[in-house]
Symmetry: C2
Subunit: 446 residues, 2 copies
């Protein structure tokens, strides 16, 4: 048996951050990771020519202070997401270019987008981050899907579509899947809608030199090789009056830092309270396939484009320039999200590649037709994630089960970005959740 | 290693029915059951004086032909649910008695209940049972919660409350939790709303002599002691080109006959397709505590009551006479469902008992105040059920993931009442699902 003060399940940013704080307080910690790598939903890949690209979470933006501090402490540099030139909108089959955040759409559509967004932001501010279920209108907002709200409150078809696309791009789930209350909480948690959607002054503002996963790998290196055990899936957690047993590890406390749906598959002895188990039955992961095409050059830059595209037509409805800081090669990034990810996920790789290239060409012209490389990652198929970006809640869940999300069950404490009050669902939220869980556990240690 | 043609996971009515058909075809089968008993969500208990009462699924009604045939084959007799006299309605603090299905409520409330129910029934008929996602309005109906439909289509507060209560009494979940499409499918599956709600000509029409669990125990006895292994939880299922391995059992095929949320916790090698895993992330169980009070006599009968009560006030909003066929003792049955089950589930037993007795007294007067015994079963706390009566779907799930519900994954086949086209969620549906899975597997055996 290995004996430590705290055992941590999951070596994503949440688990690693928790372990760092436990160790920094002079206590012992061991992180058990199912995969053969650290980082969880944060993952680097490399192109044929050795360029690092991020196939998981990748950006950092304003107010993501805990992630910023962590990167800084680890010496990981940041650089701005490429954002010079015009954006592209493909709408009703027509391609237009525009500068800044407001696409060229009919004025009545723009007006109803603006009014709708202002209303959603106002409502979001009324959702307390530490207790969304205590919002004055919690029951009302949790009784409906976001889709219901859109249909009822957004008068034009074009604006309806843009809201749906916005929701899907944030949750990788459809507007019909998500509770309005959870959507409002999530939006408030990340600083309201503009911040979630945007590059400039938004959640997609900056990137990490070397790819975001270096934060996780460097952090794991700092913890030391004794503190992280790879290829160590946790299937069972037992607790008694004295401590917890996780495989061959004995500890005073355990921090479970994996997505709710994975936490719910662990066998707990004794059985967890019904409220907690039923919560994890009700927090499914979104569905997303992250796709990239590699070109000799970021040719769209020469044409005056940022590489950011938005379309009412899929399967790729959102793109970004994901080229390395050096410039070449040019990397176009797209997301296949929600329903589209479910439909294309079961198809052969070639079918997806063709569909992606077609979308990229629609945005950026014929030069996009012949990438020298295609890279993809379907997170729904990952045994140790089961979807991305994160978990969402259907109607009825947050107001009725919310309090079980962070509430410890005896010696079991819960981390993971889904438990964060600020930047829930983002890398920054993951770091915060690990820090919160460590702070929760430390005073309880003997 | 034990070698059989088919291994079945779960000895509820679904798994046992599947095994029966496999054996009847001259093939070998072994049922692995996690609990120390068969029956799953069907369970007998006994009062202090030895009276059998059902603390799980218990009734049978018209068109539940497969359950009816099974009971008949096993020599299990049926008797009518006690239904003589008046029903009780407690509404806005006032108690009224009424005969038949229509309570004494203000006429405009009754009218909007009637109109609403007729509309829901009409819509339900348009949901194809074998493929609910193919309904012409599937996307529309799956975009909203039942609560949204109620708010939009039921004009009076009283009728709204009655619809919510009706939904909760069928699903043990709140109207805000459930997709309208799933609700309509479920209602169609059971023969429309009146049939789901009623005793006379409804799903609560008859009971089984000896308690419903005798069907499962006798069926298991018929299969023989070699065919059912108790205390044998299945944590992993591996399949290869030749067959499946489940613990120390090797078989050609496996039928997984447990609720989706439990099926989703099994470790499959190789990993299941994302579509299937994400489905089981999205089929949570309802929340219900079944409660009974035992009295010397069914005293309400002498007062001219059926024992059936309905109230807008909880925690027990629905009651039935659950006395044994002999008459004494008198057993009053109540359900604590949905939100109420979540709130009371974590409380001490005494708190629940007091709340239940108070509700029973509100319905049937002071003689209900002093039961000689109190019996309860909180299904959400059961490790091998994780809730009852069954799984439901939030908005977005049935239309996007429905096809994965029954679709076999290689050598893995799916049973359980949640997979039934007829009487989904009921004992009859469980039997049907087992029979369907066996019929699916048999022609595939070498």
């Amino acid at each position: 048996m290995t004996d430590v003060d705290v055992v941590v399940v999951g070596a994503g940013l949440a688990g690693l951050s928790a372990a760092r704080d436990i160790l920094a307080a002079g206590r012992s910690a061991l992180v058990l990771e199912a995969r053969d790598r650290v980082g969880g939903r944060v993952l680097n890949d490399v192109t044929a020519d050795g360029t690092v690209v991020e196939v998981g979470g990748q950006w950092i933006g304003p107010t993501q202070d805990r992630l910023d501090k962590l990167a800084h402490d680890l010496g990981v540099e940041q650089y701005p997401t490429y954002n010079e030139g015009d954006n592209v909108l493909v709408y009703r089959g027509r391609r237009t270019r525009y500068r800044g955040a407001i696409p060229k759409m009919p004025p009545h559509v723009l007006v109803s987008i603006g009014l709708g967004q202002a209303r959603l932001d106002r409502m979001a501010r009324d959702v307390p981050l530490h207790a969304p279920w205590a919002a004055a209108k919690a029951a009302d907002w949790d009784s409906m899907s976001v889709e219901t709200w859109i249909r009822r409150n957004v008068p034009t078809d074009g604006a309806k579509e843009m809201f749906r696309l916005g929701v899907t791009s944030v949750f990788s789930a459809e507007a019909c899947d998500i509770s309005l209350l959870h959507f409002l909480f999530y939006s408030h948690s990340g600083g309201l809608l503009d911040r979630l959607f945007n590059v400039a002054d938004g959640a997609q503002e900056r990137r990490f030199v070397g790819g975001s996963q270096v934060i996780a790998t460097r952090l794991a290196d700092r913890l030391g090789s004794d503190a992280v055990r790879l290829d160590a899936p946790v299937r069972a957690v037992a607790q008694d009056d004295d401590g917890v047993t996780v495989g061959d590890v004995r500890a005073q406390r355990v921090i479970v830092a994996v997505p709710p749906t994975l936490a719910g598959r662990i066998e707990y002895q004794p059985v967890l309270p019904a409220q907690r188990d039923q919560l994890t039955q009700r927090m499914p992961m979104g569905s997303v396939i992250k796709v990239m095409c590699v070109y000799d050059e970021p040719f769209w830059r020469a044409d005056g484009f940022t590489g950011q595209g938005t379309s009412d037509e899929g399967p790729v409805q959102i793109t970004f320039d994901n080229s390395p800081p050096s410039g070449p090669p040019g990397v176009l990034l797209g997301f296949i999200e929600g329903r589209a990810a479910r439909q294309l996920g079961g198809q052969p790789r070639d079918v997806r590649r063709r569909a992606v290239v077609e979308c990229f060409s629609r945005f950026f012209g014929p030069r996009a037709e012949h990438p020298r490389e295609y890279i993809e990652r379907d997170w729904s198929g990952e045994e140790w994630s089961r979807g991305c970006y994160g978990a969402f809640m259907a109607p009825g869940v947050l107001s009725q089960y919310g309090p079980a999300l962070r509430h410890p069950c005896g010696r079991i404490h819960w981390a993971g970005t889904e438990t964060a009050e600020l930047w829930c669902g983002y890398m920054d939220g993951a770091v915060r959740s690990g820090e919160r869980a460590a702070a929760e556990v430390l005073p309880l240690l003997r």
